[in-house]
Amino acid sequence: MTSVTHDHHHAPASPSGLRKLTAPGWYRVLWTTPLVGFIGLGIVGLIRWAADWDPIWKSGPLATVGTVSFPMGLLIGLGGFDFWTYYASGKRTRPDSHDGHGATSWRDYFRINTDHKVIGIQYTVTTMLFFVISGFMALLFRAELAQSGDQYFNPQTFNVLVTEHAILMILLVIIPAFAGLGNIVIPLMIGAADMAFPKLNALSYWLLPIAGVTFIAGMFAPGGGPSAGWTCYAPLCAHQPMGNIFFNMAVQWGGASSIMTALNFLVTIITMRAPGMTFWRMPLLVWANFSTSLLVVLATPFIAGSQFFVLFDRVMHTNFFEAAGGGYVLGYQHIFWFYSHPAVYIMLLPGFGIISEVIAVMSRKPIFGYRLMALSLLAILVLGFSVWAHHMYVAGMAGWLRVPMMASTLLIAVPTGIKIFSWIATMWNGKINFNTPMLWATGFIATFVIGGLSGVWLGAVSIDIPVSSTYFIVAHIHYVLFGGSVFTIFTGIYYWYPKVTGRMYNEKLGKLHFWMTFIGFNATFFPMHYLGTQGMPRRVADYAPRFQELNAFASIASYLLGASTALFLFNMIWSWTKGEVVGSNPWRAMTLEWQVSSPPPTFNFDEVPQIVGGPYEFGVPGARHAILGSAQAEPVATGGH
């Protein structure tokens, strides 16, 4: 067995004087960002001047290049490319010092940090910040929607709020929140010291705030923000105010971040499992992120393509989707949904993994049908690529295509059903402790069943046609992405909170948070099914007066959701310093992350653990998941303390 003990973390000596301006960090950012940024803009002007194009300074090309060059300057300043530049320049390679690892003060979270646990926290905290921002946008437009007629926002502002709320929730909250939780636990769960590519990992995190800031900057762009909806359908979105260019480019930053993390997860999971950790011994969370990462790597380039093409139509006068120039308008939707449907599974599969962990541990039982649970993830992955056009039943695409798309869409209900039945069978006869994570997991099953059933409806063409693009869709998407994904994110955050912080969250506040969210969520979104079937289209600032009462009800309920989020944030922040200190394994779980101290040591394991059994062998006499070196925390107890 190879020893992985390291000369443990020592912070790099902070540079002084002029070195402050040249060493990686925020002082360097101060001059590299404007330098690289304006060089980019200058090149645009130079080319336009040389080509004798008028005007020399044109907003479209400037925004396109600026949303690349300024962030690149920031990344260069932070030191995101230092190692590779040094390496590529042919200088003598520097031995890896690990001084980018670990965190001893809050400042360590604001630099390029290569420690997967620090990156995981960076990710999770960033996503929660954007959860608050984009949730607040939703509260703003719910205020507008509380009454019919125009009250607070003109249609442009309303459309911007709706667009930004959706895209931020998807690209800056749900997808990266799973990347954050996965970052924290996957290397620990498979017995690895870190991710396969720590420097790539650090870089992929820093692309995320860039994407978020670019999205938000777009709202304030001269002329107006992106207002074509998060789906950004061509040709409308090629004829939008300049903010839409920021939108197109921010998707590129978010997508790149997503792809880099997924590659990292894949390589880590395939190559860095501890001895004895066969695929059939991996925790289901690892299976789930393995499947998700395959989806991300294969599908994400398509949304990047769709946003580039629609941007080119606008800035470079190409005709990908401009009918007048011979373009094919529906081509956009095909490319866009080829990513954005698999994206639904990108936002669900990791959550399925979290739910599997929590239900097994809190029910004190092995996962029911472990292999079928893992295989159903792969089934969803494969089927997920053959269903994109179910978003286009009314789009005017080839009519025959609707039937095969419907068949594969509805078939996804089978592996999804297997998961739900298996979770309930895992709870069956268990010794269930309904603490906060388990409450969230149970609540997730309840709401996700509703979202799943309305999903089966929407998969069936003859049911989808009357309700597509209405509030029924708004209800469905929130049952799946809020009642589904966000509930699993909360489950995961509560479950691993003691591991990450070494302290327990406040249980009473956690449960109150759950009940407020559960009630507020159903009250907000369930009535929307009715609004949709009755004739209220989505994405409208104004609606027929007969929808007044239900909209007012939904708006009031949405404020309960807002209040519950405030409670959650208070609990998280307060418990981080004031919570009760707990041991390494408060849930008595068997997976590896609970067998090391809380928070885990910088390099996770003093010795590579040896895996000897499955991860959920609760109640099996004498069963063990792993054998760790003697220096580790207390061994896991099975069958009671």
Binding site: D150, P155, N159, G223, G229, L236, H239, A323, A324, V329, S363, R364, K365, P366, F368, G369, L372, V394, A395, G396, R402, M406, L410, L411, A413, V414, G417, I418, F421, S422, I424, A425, M427, W428, N429, K431, I432, I445, A446, V449, A460, V461, S462, I463, I465, P466, S469, H529, Y530, T533, Q534, P537, R538, V540, A544, F618, V620, A623, T638, G639
Partner: protein
């Protein structure tokens, strides 16, 4: 499982099923179907509804049973029984959903196949959409901005768009399709109930999207025939006409503009009651100002309004004579 626990589980399922059924039956979820196509769609919805109620009741019963019965007793730190799975059970809950979804697929496929049939002699109406209006072109070449349909006849709507993607939806008709630039999309409807129905655009198409509405009127076939025979003279809204007020209505100006004389109160665009003031600000003669503002809307922007809000398609969609009378109408009636 004991007999008592099976009874309890069954009771939960019945209660959950009863509540769900009540929600499904006593809330009038769907508008009354007004076309043969909607009748078939509503059938497929009820088919799936019954399945959904059964599935929901079973899952809810099992989940509630777990929550009630398998709570750990305080102080109990033992584990549950080490059940790893049950092959037969797993086969069952893979097979039954497979059968169910195949059944739904077949029903839905038959419905959309039947709903696509236009018969041998359908009434074909061209629906031309643009920001933020519909125009309905009948076989005799006449164009209207309200859709009149005969009852009990197959109608094929051929949709096209002049600018971005729009959509045609009448909730009670069931059918819906997008109108896409560059291609023609079609739906078939066979109205079965006379009356007035709202036409709604469901695809975000710009700032006036929420106001992109029209009306469908289903007439008895005799009424329809007499209207169709005389069509062109009677309704003032005919876009074929060159009377200034008709052009104003037909071109959909009122969807976005306040104009007291035209009886419109749209808020997307600037008020047309202040045209004289705006013309003075632009330093142009009133008639010239109105004309250039329609054909080339971005040359002078009313304060507070951005470029590109007003469609620039009017210079081609309104004829020269129509434009002249529209300009005159606006100039005479503005304050």
């Amino acid at each position: 499982m004991t007999r008592g626990s099976i009874f309890k589980l069954f009771a939960y399922a019945v209660v959950a099923g009863a509540i769900t059924t009540a929600v499904a039956v006593f809330i009038p979820w769907l508008p009354t179907a007004a076309t043969r196509q909607a009748d078939r769609m509503w059938f497929s919805i009820w088919f799936a509804e019954i399945i959904a109620i059964v599935v929901f009741a079973v899952v809810a019963a099992a989940l509630i049973y777990c929550v009630v019965e398998f709570r750990v007793k305080p102080g109990d730190t033992s584990d549950g029984p080490p059940t790893h799975g049950h092959t037969m059970l797993e086969i069952i809950w893979t097979a039954i959903p497979t059968v169910i979804v195949i059944a739904i697929t077949i029903v839905a496929a038959i419905v959309i196949h039947d709903n696509g049939k236009a018969g041998t002699n359908p009434l074909v109406i061209k629906v031309v959409t643009q920001q933020f209006t519909y125009q309905f072109e009948y076989p005799n070449g006449k164009t209207f901005n309200i859709l009149r349909l005969p009852k009990d006849r197959n109608v094929k709507l051929d949709l096209s768009s002049k600018d971005v993607i729009h959509s045609f939806w009448v909730p009670a008709f069931g059918q819906k399709t997008d109108a896409v630039p560059g291609i023609t999309t079609s739906i078939v409807i066979t109205p079965t109930r006379t009356g007035y129905y709202p036409i709604i655009c469901t695809q975000l198409c710009g700032l006036g999207h929420a106001l992109m509405r029209s009306e469908a009127i289903v007439l008895e076939s005799t009424e329809y025939d007499s209207w169709y025979a005389s069509a062109g003279e009677a309704p003032a809204a005919a876009a074929g006409g060159t009377d200034g007020k008709s052009v104003y209505t037909a071109a959909g100006c009122g969807a976005c503009h306040v104009f007291t004389a035209g009886g419109s109160a749209g808020t997307i665009g600037s008020s047309l009651d202040n045209l004289s003031v705006d013309a003075a600000k632009a330093g142009e003669e009133l008639n010239d100002f109105i004309r250039s503002s329609i054909t080339d809307p971005d040359t002078f922007l009313a304060p507070g309004y951005a470029k590109g809000v007003m469609p620039s398609t009017y210079k081609s969609s309104i004829s020269g004579a129509q434009l002249d009378s529209l300009v005159q109408y606006l100039a005479e009636n503005t304050k």
